[in-house]
């Protein structure tokens, strides 16, 4: 088919400078994924540096940074309690990184030739590392505070003893599956959104081609798809924020389990 657009092409990780650098059998070249992680980091550093002026009468920027910090602080206080304060820096970092990475991923700079954004969080390698980091902190906090008593997490209060052979494996599996569901949710939500945008984008291009070729239906399809892209983009912005929030929220809930053991 002429003008065929592959919706998976946008997720390809490739070296920025065109050639692979192989070190000891591993490809260590600077990829577009790494580039966009650096971009996200720089934006984040800029946002925080601009917000940390500590003026008595805060400007808009400082209010934005302070309300982001306050938002996570509130989440910690509600979900974990007073002990949650010391986890706030980690949750805040992971929330802001995911939020910025998601938002940078949907920036429409692809209308400029040879430029396109890369959604860092649309790769399970990235989201799984974030999820395993959260899970590792949960394990470390749990064993640090409770020692082997941490395993009582798998034994719910008030359950009858004869139910234990069933309920302990179920609780164990549901505990061990947490990092996978945490990473998978973010990765799939972002991937699905980007595929959807790309598919409607290809409808616009193919509709224009058909319209130029003499079919009036092509113009209509193209126009409707373009309107749809605007709507889906708005939805994507919402999903970006919700997924970052959900990741932070679930991490804080798991931390609450580790701190309080039910």
């Amino acid at each position: 088919m002429a003008g065929d657009i592959n919706p998976m092409e946008q997720f390809q990780v490739e070296p920025v400078f065109g050639h692979h650098i192989v070190l000891g059998g591993y490809d260590v070249s600077f990829t577009n994924s790494a580039l966009f992680m650096v971009v996200v980091f720089m934006l984040l550093a800029l946002f925080m540096a601009g917000g940390l002026k500590r003026q008595l009468i805060p400007g808009r920027w400082q209010v934005a940074a302070e309300s982001a910090v306050g938002f996570i602080d509130d989440m910690m206080r509600v979900n974990i309690g007073p002990e949650g304060k010391k986890f706030a820096p980690y949750i805040f970092s992971i929330f802001m990184f995911i939020l910025f990475a998601n938002l940078v991923g949907v920036l429409p700079i692809a209308i400029l030739p040879h430029l396109h954004t890369f959604a860092v969080t649309s790769h399970i390698t990235v989201t799984a590392v974030l999820a395993f980091l959260s899970f590792g902190i949960v394990l470390a906090v749990g064993f640090w505070r409770h020692g082997f008593h941490f395993f009582s997490l798998f034994v719910p209060h008030g359950a009858p003893a004869w139910l234990m052979p069933v309920i302990i494996p179920v609780e164990f599996v549901s505990f061990m599956v947490r990092p996978f569901s945490l990473g998978l949710r973010l990765f799939v939500a972002m991937t699905a959104g980007h595929i959807l945008l790309e598919v409607f984008g290809s409808f616009v291009v193919q509709g224009l081609n058909a319209g130029v070729g003499g079919s009036w239906l092509g113009w209509i399809v193209s126009l409707l798809s373009f309107v749809m892209i605007i709507g889906v983009s708005a939805l994507e912005l919402l999903v970006c924020a919700i997924q970052a929030y959900v990741f932070a929220l679930l991490t804080s809930l798991y931390l609450n389990d580790a701190v309080h053991l039910h």
Binding site: M8, M75, S181, A189, Y245
Partner: protein, 77 residues
């Protein structure tokens, strides 16, 4: 029926789960709104639980989507 045709039908069937998860997510938000309109004072305190319910039901739809994508792109033709 060819193998390729069967694969496409399978991917389409897997996508039914996405629609069912849409019902689930709609149910979460609909029930929340119903409760929130009856007692708006308590609504803000329950927002965390709203998103937990949303995340749980959304995940199942996303897994259905992953199955469809696996069938389409990963299973060897």
């Amino acid at each position: 029926m060819t193998d390729l045709g069967a694969m496409y039908i399978g991917a389409g069937l897997a996508a039914i789960g996405v629609g069912l998860a849409a019902l689930g997510v709609g149910n979460v938000f609909g029930s929340f709104l119903e409760g929130a309109l009856r007692n708006p004072g308590a609504a803000d305190g329950q927002q965390g639980r709203l998103f937990i319910g949303f995340a749980a039901s959304e995940l199942l739809g996303l897994i259905a989507f992953v199955v469809a994508i696996l069938i389409l792109f990963v299973v060897k033709k």
